[in-house]
Symmetry: C2
Subunit: 308 residues, 2 copies
Amino acid sequence: MGKLLIVGTVAFDAIETPFGKTDKILGGAATYISLSASKFGAESGIVSVVGGDFPKEYLTKLNNKNIDTEGIEIVENGKTFFWSGRYHNDLNVRDTLVTDLNVLADFNPVVPENFKDTDFLMLGNLHPTVQMEVIKQIPVRPKLVVLDTMNFWMDNTLDELMEVIAKIDVITINDEEARQLSGEYSLVKAAQKIHKMGPKFVVIKKGEHGALLFNNGDVFFAPALPLKEVFDPTGAGDTFAGGFIGHLSQTGDISFENMKRAVISGSNLASFCVEKFGTERMENLTHDEIQKRLLQFKLLTQFDIELS
Amino acid sequence: MGKLLIVGTVAFDAIETPFGKTDKILGGAATYISLSASKFGAESGIVSVVGGDFPKEYLTKLNNKNIDTEGIEIVENGKTFFWSGRYHNDLNVRDTLVTDLNVLADFNPVVPENFKDTDFLMLGNLHPTVQMEVIKQIPVRPKLVVLDTMNFWMDNTLDELMEVIAKIDVITINDEEARQLSGEYSLVKAAQKIHKMGPKFVVIKKGEHGALLFNNGDVFFAPALPLKEVFDPTGAGDTFAGGFIGHLSQTGDISFENMKRAVISGSNLASFCVEKFGTERMENLTHDEIQKRLLQFKLLTQFDIELS
């Protein structure tokens, strides 16, 4: 069992889908990652920032899941990062309505003493300069550093992002982002180019079409579970990353074979996340439910065919 | 080993992709299905129609693959069905430039005596009235009837199509067509509705995102092989269907477990089809190449995870 440090946003989200809408609810990349990873029992902590308006019970909620929030700075006279979005009938498409950076605009991350020897470092989607600052504050290189990022940083801070990418082991991005970053349409070629930028492992998330794991010549595919209803896709990608790093920190094994299990775990956790608004499903998800659905993933993908 | 009868177009195609273009070359649903199925050694025959302009060496080509062409009517004073299309840089999108039905417009299919006891019947994409006529000419119901169709028939001949759908065992359509036919966005719900129309098995093809096999409560997913280059997608769906029915007629086993292997076989064959223009790759494909790539499908999808 390894220690896991998670860097990312802790935020308010207001979400509108064809099925309903929410007021400001708990959101943010680090929130979803940590809730997902907490199912695997690792000792985990968050580095982030919130404003004085952030309810203490949200922190208690995380603490109750054994997530250390000492690294979440509280700026008493500031406001918490706020994101609002509206999903189309095709839930793959969404419009961002509001992005208020608030306290995130001047965020200087501080890694708590207790996590300076973390085994696993998960750099959630955030300004690459903040991600780099966290890498620098950890004196002994972690066993594995995983980066999640998005097209916004490729558009606006590509140089800084490339410096971070050069220092990590695993990158998780979606298919369009992989194409943008590499300039290659074929995801096989895109992964080859991204390997050359640094990461030994490239995870390409395709939403409802699953995820691909590349490790130089090798490739593995984890499908998304076909669902009757998808209620709210918010946080699914972060929940995937949390299930991925959660499985790895629980087992301490960073071989390609175990990474296969990790992407299946990520897909498994993400399949729950989308069943309810926001973090609701993740908060109440039980070990039994996770195990049962893992069996569904086996039935979905495993076949026995004779090679002659 | 079962007998296999294939109904579908035998045609000329002219194809333009970002990588080049062809003159009129051999094409058509029945051509691709039969070439693909021929890799599995079943005794197969085609029911179709061509014009006097159709080169005899194309028929010889099929015969050399052990495909019986007695059921291909030759209308000496008519012209062969011609389709021309241009693919975009995103090969998932194509424009149809020409569709000349020619001899297909007045086609009355005749099932050869030798195939009236066929074990497997593959109804390739064609007018549903032609598909129904073939069903009627077979006195003893085949072990398995598989239907491939497309949105064009849903738009223009829905009543006739629904009558065919009520009589078959397996339907193969793409994701958008499944949504159109069922009125459901979720593919799980779409499959449920399509089951109620008749087919016990519903195969939903998602192109580069793989294929789903539904059998009432059960679901299985076959990924598409991630490829470095896709050269020409023409015929990939028919080649998938050919690999599917080919595997089933080779084994004679129509259980859900064996259908899983059949969709993997279909994906496997389709992954070759797209590597060259038209039927070129399928004509020269060897048993060894198929087996080697089957191993890649295993490596791509198989994982070992402990359930606790």
